[in-house]
């Protein structure tokens, strides 16, 4: 279960404002980076949904995103579908695949779940890599962006495309929050804390896991389709496990199970990466050291650190101010 706190609202508003400002003012490369951040943000939202709120740490979300990208690409290029129906198709297909993976892996836990999802991700990777229709190792080019000229928007313009991504990210965030706050999200929380008891209460645990995994997969599919639109070219590397690993790093770096944190993580990670790779080809070293430093600080990621410092205090102050009109609610996250 996810709750908005004052701090979360504040950081969210800050992020949105910063993104909007950048989208309107940044130069070409800045826009490119912003689009990358936004797409990664959707992916890590999807991942946080299952990992942070359901304990299902997935190492196949990169592959799901890749599937979304390929589904979109193939539906456009080979099946001749218009981009928007292709986008819908990609999301639906990725969701269905994710649902199946979630259902099959539902019995595994912890590292076993991670590895089971990795296995499915790698199978998808190998399949794409070795399927000539999908371009194999050489990838698939000539992927179109949606035509929104009816609305007077030209998505081939970088700025418009970034704004399009921003809207998609906002939508994805809203969807994630809705799901996590629903009955399904509640059940998911129960399953994460004590699966055996949830079952004994009469819940079909695997269905809950599969449903949430499927919904998360739809978001990953959206991210994939957007990535395909951004680059207008797709290659199997998108499905490699390292993409999933990187997404996981971003989620944890930002703050697992906070939904807002991963957004912070995505922004920080991409900015850092590009900033450093311009300076040194050994940027992995620096990123690695920073990762270690962040974790050694013992906080739940960057945002978790912020929450631990100020979250409670801010909320208490806010609660004091509004004590009269709202009944007290137990405040806890996840």
């Amino acid at each position: 279960m996810f709750r908005h706190t004052f701090l979360r609202y504040a950081v969210l508003a800050l992020l949105a404002a910063a993104a909007l400002l950048r989208a309107l003012t940044a130069g070409y490369f800045g826009l490119e980076i912003l689009a990358e951040i936004l797409i990664l943000a959707i992916l890590v939202l999807a991942l946080d949904m299952v990992a942070g709120f359901g304990g299902m740490v997935s190492l196949c979300h990169g592959a799901l995103m890749g599937l979304g990208a390929y589904a979109y690409g193939v539906l456009c290029v080979h099946a001749g579908l218009a981009p928007l129906p292709a986008l819908a198709g990609a999301i639906a297909l990725t969701g269905a695949v994710a649902w199946a993976i979630g259902a099959i892996c539902a019995r595994a836990h912890g590292i076993f779940f991670i590895m089971a999802t990795l296995a499915f991700g790698q199978m998808a990777y190998s399949w794409v890599f070795e399927t000539p229709l999908l371009g194999g190792d050489d990838g698939l080019g000539g992927i179109p962006r949606p035509d929104l000229s009816l609305l007077g928007i030209d998505l081939s313009d970088s700025r418009s495309f970034v704004l399009f991504c921003l809207a998609a990210t906002a939508l994805a965030y809203g969807a994630a929050v809705l799901v996590l706050r629903s009955g399904l999200g509640r059940s998911l929380g129960g399953v994460m804390h004590n699966e055996q008891r949830m079952r004994a209460l009469g819940l079909t645990v695997w269905r809950v896991k599969a449903d949430v995994f499927g919904l998360s997969g739809m978001l990953a599919g959206l991210a994939g389709a957007l990535a395909a639109m951004q680059v207008m070219y797709i290659s199997p590397g998108l499905l490699a496990w390292t993409t999933s690993g990187e997404a996981l790093v971003v989620v944890i770096l930002g703050g697992l199970g906070t939904l807002v944190g991963p957004l912070v993580g995505a922004a920080a990670f991409v900015t850092l990466k590009h900033g450093l790779s311009g300076v040194t080809s050994h940027w992995h070293l620096v990123v690695g050291l920073i990762l270690i430093a962040v974790v050694m600080s013992r906080a739940n990621g960057l945002f978790g650190w912020l929450e631990a410092r100020w979250g409670a205090r801010l909320d208490r102050r806010l609660a004091d101010a509004t004590r009269e009109d709202t009944p007290r609610e137990a405040t806890n996250d996840a």
Partner: protein
């Protein structure tokens, strides 16, 4: 006069970092040698061997840095990713490695000039040559990806055209194979007279060592694409590589004036022998300098001029095939032998330069 702005697009991290570094060293040496008074401004970008990253960097070079020309590109995946971008924007690209046949075939572009090699080109002549040595049944092995299939495809084409027979073919999972033992046993059991392979990088090293440890070289000689025993890796392979016969568009032991000068200069600069990657970088720089020397400026001008370039360099007489923009160059068959210090290459034959077939390439002139 404004300098020519060059974007150098290479992997400086990731699995191909060693290749990127060699090409870069060759490129820098080329610029220094042929354009000592500079006139070129180089902007370096790391592709990380990730196509999306490479594409973002390419767009940055084109749109933000406003380069006149781009050089580099090691992996074919990256080439596939950036192809539409450079073609669409009308920016000349000098390919300094990626060998994908299609890049100068069905997906060719007047803006893309290849100064390295194409996968088929390196292997095709070897088919005829091998058959000429009296070998008629061959087992082939290569990693399972587009490049591996094209390399072997080129060889098989040449070999069967000469009347040879393929005893068996195996494609191993790309960069996932630790143990080649199972495949070697299959090759042995296939009844072939020789084995022809394409492997590069780490896989080449593991393969050559494991081939040797099974003691197969004596009864089943090992042939292949020259990347297998590239100077970059041959010292890691050590004596295991002795006696392996391969073909490539360049080896450091080519006995010509141009090559001796290049090898000396490169060794002085880096302390190691130049590999085929180094020469590709070197010749890419030279092509660029020569194109600029014609007085051509701007993207279109340089693009057109690049297609006319021809010179005699370390690898012999090279020119650009106007039908495909692919390089035309001789191929060297060489045996890896034990030298005074480390392994060295003994050239067995120089196969004449032949342009690749057009493979569906329809080349329009460079337009504005």
């Amino acid at each position: 006069e404004d300098p020519v702005r060059v974007g150098l697009l290479l992997p400086f991290s990731g699995v191909y970092a060693a290749l990127g570094n060699d090409i870069e060293a060759g490129f820098d040496l080329g610029l220094e040698t042929f354009a000592p008074d500079s006139g070129f401004e180089v902007i370096r970008e790391d592709t990380e061997v990730k196509p999306p990253v490479a594409l973002a960097k390419t767009r940055k070079l084109i749109l933000q840095d406003k380069v006149d020309v781009i050089a580099g590109v090691v992996s074919s995946g990256v080439l596939g990713a950036v192809r539409d971008a450079v073609h669409g924007a009308g920016v000349p690209l000098i390919v300094a490695n990626a060998g994908n046949d299609d890049a100068t075939g069905s997906a060719c572009s007047p803006w893309i000039t290849r100064m390295s090699f194409s996968n088929g080109q390196v292997n095709r002549p070897m088919g005829q040559w091998l058959h000429d040595q009296g070998i008629t049944r061959v087992f082939t092995l290569a990693p399972d990806y587009a490049g591996g299939r094209q390399m072997i495809g080129g060889f098989v084409e040449g070999f069967t055209a000469a009347g040879g027979e393929i005893a068996g073919q195996e494609f191993t999972p790309f960069q996932k194979t630790q143990d080649f033992g199972p495949y070697l046993a299959k090759a042995k059991a296939s009844g072939a007279q020789a084995v022809y392979v394409f492997y590069a990088g780490s896989e080449a090293i593991s393969f050559v060592k494991q081939y040797d440890s099974f003691g197969m070289k004596a009864e089943l000689p090992l042939y292949g694409s020259g990347f297998l025993t590239s100077p970059l890796y041959v010292n890691a392979e050590g004596p295991a590589a002795a006696g392996v016969v391969t073909a490539l568009h360049y080896v450091p032991t080519i006995d010509t004036e141009e090559n001796r000068a290049f090898v000396t200069a490169f060794e002085a600069r880096t302390g190691r022998l130049p590999s085929e990657y180094a020469v590709q970088g070197y010749d890419s720089a030279r092509a660029l300098v020569e194109a600029a020397a014609t007085g051509a400026r701007g993207r279109a001008g340089l693009g057109e001029a690049l297609r006319q370039v021809q010179f005699t360099g370390p690898r012999g007489q090279t020119s650009i095939d106007p039908a495909t923009n692919n390089i035309v160059q001789p191929i060297y068959v060489y045996e890896t032998v034990q030298g005074d210090d480390g392994m060295t290459q003994k050239i067995l034959a120089e196969l004449p330069a032949r342009p690749d077939a057009a493979n569906g390439c329809e080349m329009a002139p460079v337009a504005n």
